[in-house]
């Protein structure tokens, strides 16, 4: 008895399971493809939405008002802020610049400030936080940490719209996870159903194999392998379709959306997600098949 002979023999029986699987088998594969495509498409949308959101989110800075007198003290605080995690950039604004900005900001009323001698603006540092996909940068906490630095008078952070973007991102993520779980369940059910039909269809053959001394492993492995093929090939087909769709859409989107936002390129989803969907499809196929094999292979 040799292990390779055993494996090739089981592979051959797996091939037979695939061929005798018929319509349910291809239906399961199609559903897996559809699932991988949907999750991938959603993830692609999310990635691109997040990019737009981060451009918006990062353009809204936190403003630190300092109560220091010297430029060097102010710059030291700027440097400390810049080193904090979650901070992408920290810019120093001199009192003169701050005054000029205040004037511009006030428009006509700003002229009133012109003569106001002795009006002194504080040193200001503008802090741009990182904006990540998960929306996990906690602006409130960052503001508190900045506030805690010695020499900081007050930290202003325009929370409103940023919070709304954060919340939306979290919602979209939650919906994505929900969608993913739902699709995973559907894939398990259809693969399991296809396997069940194969088992029922090949019941006689399986019974005979066991009567002539086949082990459970010998009978079950080919069926589980067929499940693996359904999951893996299904996911690969879905992802292939997604790659094609992305390639053909990317050009159109670039033309349609570039301009207001600079050059807008439809980004693909990250590489790890492609891999994860492929592996996920394979795992779901195996799980679905194994469930049926355990339930219906009592001969």
């Amino acid at each position: 008895m040799s292990a390779t002979a055993l494996v090739t023999s089981m592979l051959r029986h797996g091939g037979r399971s695939v061929r005798s699987g018929g319509l349910p088998f291809f239906f399961a594969m199609l559903m897996t493809a559809l699932g991988a495509f949907s999750i991938g498409a959603y993830a692609t949308l999310l990635v691109n939405f997040a990019r737009v959101a981060s451009t918006v989110g990062e353009s809204v800075a936190l403003v630190m008002f300092l109560n220091v007198d010297s430029a060097s003290a102010a710059d030291e605080l700027r440097a400390r802020a810049a080193l904090m995690p979650d901070v992408r950039e920290a810019l120093l604004v001199t009192p003169e610049d701050a005054l000029a900005r205040a004037r511009r900001g006030l428009g006509d009323a700003g002229r009133a400030l012109e003569g106001a001698a002795g009006l002194r603006m504080p040193w200001v540092v503008e802090v741009t936080p990182r904006f990540d996909l998960g929306g996990s940068t906690d602006r409130e906490a960052l503001a508190q940490r900045l506030q805690a630095l010695p020499g900081v008078d007050e930290v202003m952070h325009p929370a409103g719209e940023v919070k709304r973007i954060d919340a939306l991102m979290r919602l979209l993520h939650g919906a994505g996870v929900f969608l993913g779980v739902l699709i995973a369940l559907v894939v398990i059910v259809v693969v399991s159903n296809a396997t069940k039909l194969t088992v029922l269809q090949r019941r006689e053959e399986i019974a005979i194999m066991k009567l002539v001394g086949a082990t459970d492993l010998f009978v079950q492995t080919p069926l589980v392998l067929a499940g693996l093929v359904q999951g893996l090939v299904g996911a690969a087909l879905g992802l292939g379709a997604l790659a094609l769709a992305h390639a053909s859409l990317a050009g159109m989107v670039k033309v349609a959306l570039s301009g207001a936002l600079g050059v807008f390129i439809l980004a693909p989803m990250p590489a790890w997600l492609w891999g994860a969907l492929l592996v996920g499809g394979a795992i779901l196929g195996v799980v679905g098949a194994a469930l049926s094999v355990r339930r219906f292979l009592r001969v």
């Binding site: 008895m1 002979a5 006689e204 053959e205 005979i208 066991k210 009567l211 001394g213 086949a214 082990t215």
Partner: protein
């Protein structure tokens, strides 16, 4: 080879046992016929021996193993040493004669060339060398019987169990089948044949007679003379 001590067996829902207090020993190298009318329990007894049923009482030993204590995972091991010729053949329709015979060794994980070689060899022995690639269900009853025997013999079993192997065959074909079984026996296989065919019961062989699940007679093969002849035949074979 086979020992039964006070074995009883009752199918779920049956009102009487299919086997009732059967005590029996069949030694290695014996050719034993199980006789008795339909419903006597012959098939049930065979099914006990290859673990298709479990005894509800008593002890069954096959090749020194106590089947009652056998873990389910060990059943394939026992079956690989037993060739079974089923009454309904249990061939796979839609598959070739060769595939059907090969299946029995394939499940043991043998190399593909070896599987093929041995299957072809046995099929030639039973006179089906010219029908290797025919679909099993297109063969005549007698030919299907031969395929079934070939599948049982291809594993070179220590024990060969046959259920009504001449069931629906005319006398001439039945004789041909018997010769195959005798050949296996001469080569050293222990053979147990369940039959109610008088033609098979004529020879110089041990006959265990069952009725209503009980052993009612156990007639040994007589004449030591023919035993000597058998030994001589074995040496030649």
């Amino acid at each position: 080879m086979i020992e039964l001590f006070h074995v009883s067996m009752r199918y779920a829902g049956a009102d009487r046992p299919a086997l009732d207090d059967v005590t029996l020993e069949i030694r290695k190298g014996e050719f034993c016929l199980l006789a008795g009318p339909s419903g006597a329990g012959k098939t049930s007894l065979l099914r006990l021996l290859f673990c298709a049923e479990a005894a509800t009482g008593g002890q069954v030993f096959v090749g020194g193993r106590n089947l009652a204590r056998l873990k389910p995972a060990r059943i394939p091991e026992v079956r690989r040493n037993i060739g079974v010729v089923f009454q309904d053949f249990k061939l796979l329709p839609g598959r070739s004669v060769l595939d059907n015979v090969a299946l029995a060794i394939e499940v043991q994980g043998r190399r593909r060339e070896e599987v093929r070689e041995r299957a072809v060899g046995v099929l030639k022995q039973v006179g089906l060398g010219h029908k290797l690639h025919q679909h099993a269900e297109r063969l005549s009853g007698g030919e299907q019987q031969r395929v079934a025997i070939a599948r049982a013999l291809v594993v070179e079993p220590a024990l060969l169990l046959c259920d009504e192997p001449t069931g629906n065959l005319d006398a001439e074909r039945a004789q041909g089948i018997l010769e195959l079984l005798v050949t296996a026996h001469v080569r050293g296989t222990t053979v147990v044949v369940a039959t109610h065919d008088p033609a098979l019961l004529g020879g110089n062989r041990r006959v265990v007679r069952l009725e209503d699940g009980r052993v009612v007679a156990d007639v040994p093969a007589y004449s030591p003379m023919s035993a000597a002849l058998l030994d001589a035949a074995r040496k030649v074979a």
